[in-house]
């Protein structure tokens, strides 16, 4: 009698366990599918220009040979939502191109100019591809230990002092645009920082660019804590102008 009950209970447990694992497996696979799809795309269509495995280049030769920015720490650098949006509709980030020195021409007047025609558009993905590639990129977490967690203090961004600092006190404007067409052209535009980058990454990169990319042509500006806070918050607070606004401005 007791034996029969135990057997029935045992059977129920087995059925329950098998059922549960099937549900879990299904859930697991629908969650994991985009990551593996994204990884396949990265390995077939992106690795020729982007390093998806570290370490970063340590010689000028290997640094200059890179055809696109390193992506092996993408998961601690970019915002996933921005990645999805940008990968489907990419727009230039570094005005003079990723390797400005490849697109530079010396004009008659001895000044250099950017050869705008030499710049090529970035490959665009479908929405679905963009989602799975972004999911895969978010799993690349090299350098996580280099990034200071919750680096920013409560004090709010100060638009006026931020711009003064960026332009006059720290000289960042020499290489970075704070609005389209205003600022240097060799560094990434900074008016999309908040949308593009994770705040703690911005802080830590600014503090020591060479620890992320030893040969970067962004110099270490040796900033004190106060400047790091003001500059990081300022960049994060900037917003790209709406395309409509530009049209209105032209009228």
């Amino acid at each position: 009698m007791t034996g029969g009950r135990t057997a029935r209970a045992g059977l129920a447990t087995v059925v329950f366990t098998v059922g549960l694992s099937m549900v879990l497996l299904l859930a697991g696979s629908t969650w994991a599918a985009p990551v593996s799809d994204g990884m396949a795309i990265l390995k077939s269509r992106c690795f020729t220009c982007h390093a998806i495995k570290g370490p970063a280049a340590t010689t000028l030769k290997s640094f200059s040979a890179r055809k696109g920015p390193d992506l092996f720490y993408a998961g601690v650098k970019y915002n996933e939502e921005w990645l999805i949006k940008w990968l489907a509709r990419p727009e230039p980030i570094r005005p003079a191109g990723f390797r400005y020195f490849k697109n530079t021409v010396v004009t008659d007047g001895a000044d250099d100019a950017v050869d705008w025609d030499a710049l090529k558009a970035h490959v665009a993905l479908t929405e679905a591809e963009a989602e799975s590639v972004a999911a895969a990129l978010m799993t690349f977490r090299t350098y996580e230990e280099k990034i200071k967690k919750n680096a920013l203090t409560e004090a709010p961004a100060d638009a006026f002092m931020g711009e003064m600092n960026f332009d006059k006190f720290s000289g960042c404007l020499a290489c970075h645009e704070i609005e389209p067409g205003y600022g240097g052209v060799t560094g990434p535009e900074v008016y999309t920082t908040g949308e593009r980058l994770q705040p703690d990454f911005v802080y830590s990169y600014l503090k020591d660019p060479q620890s992320f990319d030893p040969k970067s042509f962004m110099p270490n500006k040796e900033l004190g804590e106060n400047f790091l806070q003001v500059l990081t918050k300022y960049m994060l607070s900037l917003e790209a102008p709406e395309p409509e606004d530009e049209e209105e401005g032209d009228d």
Binding site: T58, T59, D111, G171, Y182, P219, K221, E222
Partner: protein, 133 residues
Amino acid sequence: MNGPFRLFRHTFRSSGLALFFCVLGAVALITTTPGAATGATAKDNYRTYCAQCHGVNGAGGGVNTESMNVQPRDHTDAEGMSAISDAQLRKAISEGGLAVSKSVLMPPWRSTFSDKELDALVEHLRVLCKCSG
């Protein structure tokens, strides 16, 4: 630990042969040390890092200069450059414009380059200006 070592000893039982391979390995190591075979020249460093502002030819008109309110020094200007000592050039490159009472737009480069590379950049500036300090 033991396995591979025993295998190694077995393969290179003749100590002469082992020594030969050790020397060969050491030579390979020395020739691939950065700086020996792959070190960047000051000219390459200048064209990659300094040309952003000072221009490919060093004449001061780099691609970034349009929105800069202090223009980079013209490194080909023999008169202006000979008025600056090697020590001041070295300090300006290493610690930035502020360290020599010049504009903050000239960045400090000591985190980017080794001491040797900084010395070589000073020498390269003397080549560009065809002058001495």
